[in-house]
């Protein structure tokens, strides 16, 4: 309970957590509240918000319900953000642990590959990757993860380097555990917390990257995403600004919420770690 209290000690963290909670609720109730296809044509095209109470936020260029799209968009945006972050953290932790634990040539090679990925602008990489594989949700997630795993890899490696010389690791060596087993059972779990601390930044960046890809026409056409909604709405930015403003605000709030909540978690764990 202490940790929770510590987490909620700043208004920023509370705000962040509330936004996230709201978002998760939106994502969960979306299929209940708006059953059926959110991309179905629900009314006349380009209906402004607050005109027709069955379509409270109005309709888009084809007459699709903006509110339904917003709710379903929360699902995809969150899913993309979480999946991309999970993939990036997984690859990063794997590569970082291997490099740090193995050392020598393997370390050198893995780190040069990491350098290579860090040298290429990640958005450029994502752009090329999605253009080539074709825009689907999976491709977008993979493309984002491809550019985001290097940070976690470096952090994991640095942690592993400091942990691998500790007593319990030496103990595991003495009892004859396989090096890979030591790396992933003894070292990795202890190296993980600082790596996980990066997750909020990665989630936030992933949501923004997805939006930018959608803006360039590289989003999954079978799913509603906020980025896709903004991209659709920008052609009518002047005549129907709500079409890009509404998902834009949702996007900004979400990224802000993820960031603030993440910071709250990091700070509360940092306090705990420094205390212990």
């Amino acid at each position: 309970m202490n940790r929770l209290r510590r987490f909620f000690h700043t208004p920023e963290a509370i705000a962040g957590a509330s936004i996230l909670a709201l978002l998760i609720v939106m994502a969960l109730v979306a299929p209940l509240l708006f059953s059926g296809d959110p991309q179905a044509i629900a009314g006349p095209a380009l209906l402004p918000p607050f005109q027709d109470w069955s379509l409270p936020l109005g309709t888009d260029r084809l007459g699709r319900d903006v509110l339904a799209e917003l709710f379903h968009g929360a699902r995809t945006s969150l899913a993309v953000g979480l999946a991309a972050a999970a993939a990036a953290l997984f690859i990063g932790a794997l590569v970082g642990t291997l490099a740090g634990f193995a050392g020598g040539l393997i370390d050198e090679m893995l780190m040069r590959v990491t350098d290579a990925f860090q040298t290429v602008p990640s958005f450029l990489l994502a752009l090329a990757f999605v253009s080539i594989v074709g825009p689907s949700l999976g491709a977008v997630v993979a493309a984002i993860a491809l550019g985001a795993w290097t940070g976690p890899a470096r952090v994991a490696r640095a942690e592993v380097l400091s942990i691998r010389e500790r007593d319990y690791v030496a103990g595991a060596r003495v009892i004859g555990m396989h090096p890979l087993e030591i790396a992933f059972r003894e070292v990795l779990p202890n190296a993980l917390p600082p790596v996980l601390a990066l997750s909020s930044v990665i989630v936030a960046a992933a949501i923004l990257t997805e939006a930018a890809l959608s803006f360039l026409g590289l989003g999954d056409p079978n799913r509603v995403t906020w980025g896709g909604m903004i991209a659709e709405g920008r052609a009518v930015l002047r005549s129907a600004p709500f079409l890009s403003v509404v998902p834009g605000i949702a996007l900004v709030l979400t990224v802000l919420g993820v960031y603030l909540a993440g910071e709250g978690v990091v700070e509360s764990t940092a306090v705990r770690r420094s205390l212990s």
């Binding site: 450029l124 080539i132 930015l237 996007l251």
Partner: protein, 328 residues
């Protein structure tokens, strides 16, 4: 200085491997793409089988992948980036034409986000936990959360269309014949909006890092000592706290350079800036493999050089950093 040189040499050797990985990786990625340069080309023309075969042959696309990769690397060894099928010109010329634009855009945006970000960070971090601290830190974060393209579109509507203070896009007034200072001023006016859109996004990064570093520094012994010596608060903030918090920001500068280059793809497209980012987008769409490889290579070299400079600056600025540590 010798240590700096040693570091430089070590990094240089590592960089060559990195660049090789980048080139081969990008080549393989592009080879996996459905459709080639000819497919992209005939979108706007149509044509029969004979014409298509003719084009494939002319552009060397009927050779095997391995042959083309070998040819490319061999040419690269002679510092030849090859010929662009999209522009029918040497790729070196095409890229060199765009490079200055991107450098100016990135440089100005970096200067803006670094300068303003660290200044505001100092201002906020001077009184940790105060209202202005919270306001600046949340405000900058909100800016960070705004998609760059959206910020760009809104800036255009307000400052270029409604107020007409600034041009809507491009890098300079077209075919204006301006030279010297007039041209510099013209380019500067054109850069205000794209630089703001790009720079403001990354502002939060430096601001928050500065602020966090300062919060840390306040607790350090030498600050406590300075306080005990009765130095003025302003002096402590600037001479001790901020100075110490600045070092990690310099590292960040290097790390961010690649991201900035990626972010400029979208901004260049929104503001019609003829830079490398837009060129890359065009190269992907046209399946102009050698052109995209050239762009990736040049931007990778750019990033490597920036990071080398940052490392060197770091090694000189902070004597505690050993060569091994900085290269990790």
């Amino acid at each position: 200085m010798t240590r700096a040189l040693r570091l430089f040499r070590r990094r240089l050797v590592g960089s060559i491997f990195v660049l090789l990985i980048v080139v081969i990786g990008s080549f393989l990625l592009l080879e996996a793409a459905p459709g080639d340069a000819v497919d992209a080309y005939i979108v706007s023309t149509g044509g029969d089988v004979g014409m298509i075969e003719l084009l494939r042959h002319r552009w060397g696309l009927d050779q095997s992948e391995l042959t083309r990769l070998a040819n490319y690397l061999w040419a690269l060894l002679h510092l030849d980036l090859g010929q662009s099928v999209t522009f029918s010109r040497p790729i070196r010329d095409v890229i060199l034409e765009r490079l200055p634009t991107t450098l100016i855009l990135m440089g100005s945006a970096t200067a803006l986000s670094f300068g303003l970000g660290s200044a505001l960070g100092i201002y906020a971090g001077a009184r940790p936990g105060s209202f202005r601290d919270r306001f600046l830190s949340i405000g900058s974060l909100a800016l960070y959360a705004v998609p760059g393209f959206w910020l760009g579109l809104v800036l255009i509507v307000i400052f270029a269309v409604d107020l007409r203070w600034l041009p809507i896009g491009g890098i300079e007034t077209i075919a204006s014949g301006k030279t010297g200072l007039a041209r510099v001023a013209d380019i500067a006016t054109h850069l205000v909006l794209p630089v703001s859109a790009l720079g403001f996004i990354y502002l939060a990064l430096y601001l928050r890092m500065m602020r966090a570093g300062m919060a840390e520094a306040w607790r350090q012994d030498f600050v406590l000592a300075a306080r005990a010596r009765g130095l003025s608060r302003r002096r402590i903030v600037l001479a001790h706290v901020a100075r110490n918090a600045l070092l990690p920001l310099v590292t960040m500068l290097g790390l961010q350079s690649a991201q900035m280059l990626g972010g400029s793809v979208v901004i260049e497209s929104v503001f019609a800036v003829p830079g490398l980012g837009r060129l890359a987008q065009k190269a992907v769409a046209a399946r102009d493999t050698p052109l995209l490889l050239g762009i990736i290579l040049v931007s990778a070299v750019l990033v490597v050089v920036i990071n080398l400079l940052v490392d060197l600056a770091y090694a000189i600025l902070d004597p505690r950093v050993g060569a091994g540590e900085a290269s990790a």
